[in-house]
Symmetry: C2
Subunit: 331 residues, 2 copies
DNA sequence: TTGTACGCGTTATCAA
DNA sequence: TTGATAACGCGTACAA
């Protein structure tokens, strides 16, 4: 049944009517008699008609397509967000053009060009830079705030978790577990999420009467699990007093935990660990961490971008979702 | 610079020529003087022209788009394949419509409809059922063989790893490690991959002089990590003689390993474990496993589907990639 | 070498 | 209620 797709013209001919009427019936648009409707639907049913989205889109200046830019789809955190986004978009009648940027801005730019050529209706973006080359294109930022300020007043749309509160929870947890010399480890302190987590962390430590020495911020050279080992080595070598570490990401935390267990460092007796994200591996490794509601973030991003596309009022532009402490074996 | 996209007509007017010439210059198609080319490119450069893919596709009856059906993008195995597929497709000028089917065939069918409406140029499919409703659409099957036979002669295109050889490696490894009462655990024995792994497994055991009792095939009720616990419990309760387990997937294996360590069962002294896939968690948990070349599978799937789309001869229709034993702490 | 005009499939407008 | 037709943006056959 795929030889050649039928067109409205074919349907019109077979139903003994005109293309205009067929189009009206298909879109339930305008007036037509019950009788012609029946006839048209019958023909469509019988011969199998599939609408041509390219033609429809060309005509309507839209594509029912949303471009999604994500650093790496094979990363548990991003893939869980993206999966939910795709499923939600699909439920609402949109297709997803998912692209891996590898955190490279020129890759992102290349994809943005493609989105424009494809006439994408909107964009969902996880990345560091603000998208400036596509004005009046609905864009939803997820996870990271593309602006520089601690709390940007930007009029753009975004979905994030409450990073500051997450930092606070981590700080409280470590402080109450008896940590006196806390350290913070993350990949890139320039990213909004990491800045905010550190902010909340320091805030909570201060409240608990713990002094946080800024020298104990360790920035790793990459974001993978190997970075955890690197960070632990550095901490052991240069700040032997450290008895608690807050990691900006579970990948790094798990790498660290793995290394510490392997080398016989006692966790949590000697050093306590708190991560951020709550990935699959975190549960498996028994890592105490701050859970982000990834599925919900993905879903909300989809809903938001569609609201923008369909010109509905956006109630909350900056959606901040609650995080949750998950205590396991490292505190 | 986004107010309104310019069209070939605009460019033609601005360059003082016709749409035909502009089109020819853009596509380097047909003849045109150096002079007009310069003029046209200059205008395009100056005013910024982006081609409209919908119009071009409508005209050319193509879309530069490939539909990708995958059970779940937030699963390490599928996401690593899919990521590479997307990146490769993009390098070759195609966009990816990635969709999560959740292993549900009616979801897949829904997406196939969307692909058809979008006029997708080809499809990459990870799933159990053969796609029959889209004839003369380039399709590449990945990982699983959609036909029923052990070795289907199908004329369709697919990319898989050498599952039988993987099973053999697992069998040899366990046998040589001293296992006498091996068991096999997988989610769904109906899936081609699992059948083949079991086949190779039995083959190797036989060669090594070990008897494999078919009663020791355990089929779990789901594919997640919890299934591992379920399988271990069942094995301990009903076949206490078992001293080695081969798992059809690392998720299940890791779940089992986690449970065994938690409950104090000695691995590998008491029971030896071999998994399949080699995921991120496998390394972390020290699981001995059979590694699949996921990135390569993803890349080849992309290359193959494009070869089909662009009507190039397919050298190998059924591409079978080698697997590799990775020995860690569970053997 | 260049330009005109048509058609890809759809929908909206206008007239009947 | 229905139908003819124009237009969305592009590429190409054909003519010049």
């Amino acid at each position: 049944m795929n030889e050649k797709n039928l067109t409205v013209k074919d349907i019109a001919r077979l139903a003994g009517t005109s293309v205009a009427t067929v189009s009206r019936v298909i879109n339930k648009n305008g007036r037509f008699s019950k009788e012609t409707e029946r006839k048209v639907l019958e023909v469509i049913e019988k011969y199998g008609y599939v609408i041509n989205q390219q033609a429809r889109g060309l005509r309507a200046q839209r594509s029912n397509t949303v471009g999604i830019l994500v650093p790496n789809i094979s990363n548990d955190f991003y893939s869980r967000i993206t999966k939910e986004t795709q499923v939600t978009l699909s439920e609402m009648g949109y297709m997803s053009l998912i692209c891996n940027t590898e955190e490279k801005y020129d890759e992102a730019e290349k994809y943005l060009q493609m989105f424009r050529r494809q006439n994408a209706d909107g964009i969902i973006y996880i990345g560091n830079n603000e998208i400036t080359q596509l004005t009046d294109m609905p864009i939803v930022y997820v996870d990271r705030d593309p602006r520089d300020q601690e709390e940007s007043p930007g009029d753009f749309c975004m979905v994030e978790c409450d990073n500051i509160q997450g930092g606070r929870l981590a700080g409280e947890t470590l402080a109450r577990a008896g940590v006196r010399y806390p350290a913070y480890v993350c990949f890139e302190i320039g990213i909004s999420t990491h800045r905010k987590r550190l902010l909340g962390f320091k805030e909570a430590l201060f409240s608990e009467g713990i002094f946080f020495d800024d020298k104990r911020v360790v920035v790793t050279s990459d974001a993978g699990m190997h970075a955890g080992e690197e960070a632990v080595k550095k901490i052991l070598a240069t700040m032997p007093e450290v008895d608690g570490i807050f990691f900006g990401s579970d990948f790094i935390a798990v790498g660290a935990l793995h290394y510490m267990r392997k080398t016989g460092i006692n966790v949590p007796e000697q050093i306590k660990l708190v991560g951020f994200d709550d990935l699959l591996i975190s549960e498996l490794m028994g890592l105490t961490t701050i859970r982000q509601p990834m599925a919900q973030m993905g879903r909300l991003a989809a809903v938001k971008v569609i609201d923008m596309i369909e010109n509905r009022e956006i109630e909350v532009k900056r959606q901040r979702l609650p995080v949750e402490l998950v205590e396991r074996d490292t505190t």
